[in-house]
Amino acid sequence: MNERHAISILVDNQAGVLSRVVGLFSGRGFNIESLSVAPTLDPTKSKMVITTTGNEQVLEQIKKQLNKLINVIKVVDFVDKDYVEREMILVKVKAKEQTRAEVLRISDIFRARVVDVSPVSYTLALTGDQGKLRAFIELLTPMGIIDFVRTGTIVMEREMQSRKRSDQ
């Protein structure tokens, strides 16, 4: 029953707003799986994307509560929408003599980019959805991952879908 939800929240770009938003999740014992926040084209506003998993009814309540926050302008849950999502990872992989070529080959297949090289490691950057990133990491793990960092998910509704909706 517990589906993964990506929720985008348009907020005033002010100190403390993130705490208000996050407080609604943590206050109910909900874990935020990923979070991304940055100003929109209008610098007085920010867009947050939060991904979380949880009981439908509790999430419904959280969304209502989000809407109730004075600094929240708009809340969109993407769960029933057709959308594109992207995350980005930076991963530093061991580059031993026997594995150097293999790392590059995997990187090529996934269209990752090498952003830093040292005699003992490669640092790779890759964007994609969760599935692609998971597969990439699985393949790199045997090579020895030295460091790993990942952004939150960002999402956008597919245009064809929104057109259809507005036609109806």
Binding site: V11, G16, S19, R20, E60, K68, L69, I70, I73
Partner: protein
């Protein structure tokens, strides 16, 4: 235009909001404002003896008058002491604006003297809060604070003002309008939905109205009364809704819930159409949620969308101000005389059944040898003027007041419903008395609760506020003792208040009056005397120590499962 200081701008803003009374307590970080307030003779400042008392007083002032209550405190401990008061107002949706001093912006985050992260601490218990970082923003923020506190579903707003902001200079210009893109409460109910709920009501056979504090907050008691009488639908209210419908009306069932009347709880269990108006299905009302109003189509009218289907799944919601929605309902009904007559005919057997329940299982208590708490409340009701304002503490005193003091009008009953704050009643009564100096204000207290804010005796005496405190003194934390007696095998762990001050002497020590009553025969005279005396009076009623509140629904049980006397 001449520039003024932030502190002066603060006072100007209060004037623009029409504020006449401020409750509070000074301290280092708010000295600049206090220096200005000394000369602001058009604003009465009431010095409470504890910041919690200041916020409760502002809250009581707001509940009794319908205006926004204002409190002003210093940074650090001053601000943290307000938290219980703010949370109390938050749970009951009371419009209060709390201003707290803060250390200078350059010191924030440095563990400065009397520094606390007030905005962080109060974030989950305010409707909104602000840290003012620039004196230029101060007028706009104060405007927004009053607007947010008093509109939509009301609630407390805190404004934290650093000392350097108070001292900074600003060209004072008070905005006429607020611009808040993310805040636009829905006041008008959806007309189509209103038609649908009316058709459901008109087709029902056993309808009942369950009204809450929202009816009082939106000043909609008259509409509720008209609607119920027009359709002949019986009414029960929550604790917060008492006075929203006249208790002397034949359609009145009494309060529902854990200590609700038999008739009200049975009506809600049997109804086929539950009309919830400005109520939030609190657990003290619903008991076991799965068995709450099991046969009913549930209609819910509320201004707050988050209240809808939060605890109980609602079939027909209407988001809007309940006064507006009921006015629209009455308008729609104006052409429907025939349907109304049909409904009245259909509900007749239902009303008769409710009458029977009311007659057979009324609120009752056994007459004992000592003073019965319920009897004290009945005597107060009998002898106090019709427009007397009653506040309560929390526990048995509160429930007996709710059951036995029959409220006929709104804004006469001030009680901490949601948070259940012991120590609320006395300062709230002080606030109400400040709002209405000429009216009788009574705090129905317990011997435990009254000691939680008893320091406010000094406030009552200083400002000659003739609050009457009726202490239902049973020598216990009575409600907790009652639970221990019923559900913890009578093991009275730390609920004895055997060691308490002599309340008569204590009142006198503060310069107030005290009366002790130990004999049931003296109750009436004592109440009469207290009400006629000038100044603040404590009446110490030594009641039967182990009297319990009935009916009672055990926690987690369905509400038709009542323990009766």
């Amino acid at each position: 235009m001449k520039k003024i200081t932030g502190a002066q701008a603060f006072i100007e803003a209060l004037r623009c909001e029409g504020v006449k009374h401020v409750f509070g307590y000074p301290g280092g970080a708010v000295l600049d404002i206090f220096d200005v307030i000394m000369d602001a003779h058009d604003i009465m400042f009431v010095l409470t003896r504890h910041e919690q008392g200041a916020v409760h007083a502002a809250d009581g002032y707001a509940r009794a008058s319908g205006k926004v209550g204002v409190a002003l405190v210093t940074s650090g401990p001053g601000a943290t002491n307000t938290v219980t008061g703010i949370a109390t107002a938050f749970m009951d949706s009371i419009p209060v604006v709390v201003f707290s001093g803060q250390v200078s912006t350059s010191l924030i985050g440095n563990d400065a003297f009397q520094e606390a992260d007030t905005v962080g601490i109060t974030r989950p218990c305010t409707k909104h809060n602000y840290l003012v970082k620039d004196v230029e923003d101060l007028p706009r923020i104060i405007k927004e604070a009053f607007y947010i506190a008093s509109t939509g579903r009301p609630g407390p707003v805190l404004v934290d003002i650093p000392k350097d902001v108070m001292r900074g200079l600003v060209q004072f210009r008070y905005p006429e309008k607020v611009h808040l893109e993310g805040y636009c409460p829905t006041y008008r109910g959806h007309r189509g939905q209103i038609k649908r709920i009316l058709s459901t009501i008109l087709k029902s056979r056993h309808p009942v109205i369950y009204a809450g504090g929202g009816v009082i907050l939106s000043n909609a008691s008259a509409e509720l009364t008209r609607l119920a009488r027009l359709l002949n639908i019986p009414v029960t209210t929550t604790l917060m809704g008492l006075g929203g419908f006249p208790a002397d009306d034949p359609l009145w069932l009494g309060m529902l819930g854990m200590h609700g009347t038999y008739a009200a709880n049975m009506a809600v269990t049997e109804t086929d159409c539950l009309i919830a108006i400005g109520a939030r299905f609190d657990d003290r009302v619903t008991g076991k949620v799965d068995e709450f109003a099991p046969r009913a189509r549930i209609i819910h009218i509320d201004i707050d969308p988050t209240s809808i289907s939060k605890n109980v799944q609602v079939h027909l919601p209407v988001v809007g101000d309940c006064g507006n929605v009921m006015r629209d309902m009455l308008e729609e009904l104006s052409g429907m005389e025939r349907e109304i007559e049909d409904l009245k005919r259909t509900v007749r057997p239902w009303i008769e059944r409710l009458e029977e329940w009311k007659r057979d299982k009324p609120l009752r208590y056994d007459k004992g040898t000592g003073i019965k708490p319920q009897y004290v409340i009945e005597k107060i009701r009998e002898l106090a003027p019709e427009d007397a304002i009653i506040s309560t503490e929390v526990g048995q005193n509160q429930m007996w007041a709710a059951q036995y003091y029959k409220f006929n009008a709104p804004r006469l009953f001030l009680t901490s419903g949601g948070l259940g704050t012991m120590g609320y009643g006395f300062p709230a009564a002080i606030g109400a008395q400040v709002a209405f100096p000429g009216r009788t204000v009574i705090d129905i207290a317990g011997d435990g609760s009254i000691q939680m804010n008893i320091q406010e005796l000094a406030t009552a005496v200083q400002y000659r506020l003739p609050v009457k405190v009726m202490i239902i003194n049973n020598g216990y934390l009575g409600m907790v003792r009652q639970w221990q007696s019923l559900f913890y095998k009578g093991r009275y762990s730390h609920t004895s208040m055997a060691v308490s001050p002599d309340f008569v002497k204590l009142a006198e020590a503060y310069g107030a009056h005290g009366i002790r009553v130990e004999d049931p025969g003296d109750v009436e005279d004592a109440v009469r005397k207290a009400l006629s005396m000038e100044g603040c009076v404590f009446v110490d009623f030594k009641v039967e120590p182990e009297e319990d509140v009935y009916p009672m629904v055990p926690a987690g049980a369905p509400i038709n499962n009542m323990l009766l006397v």
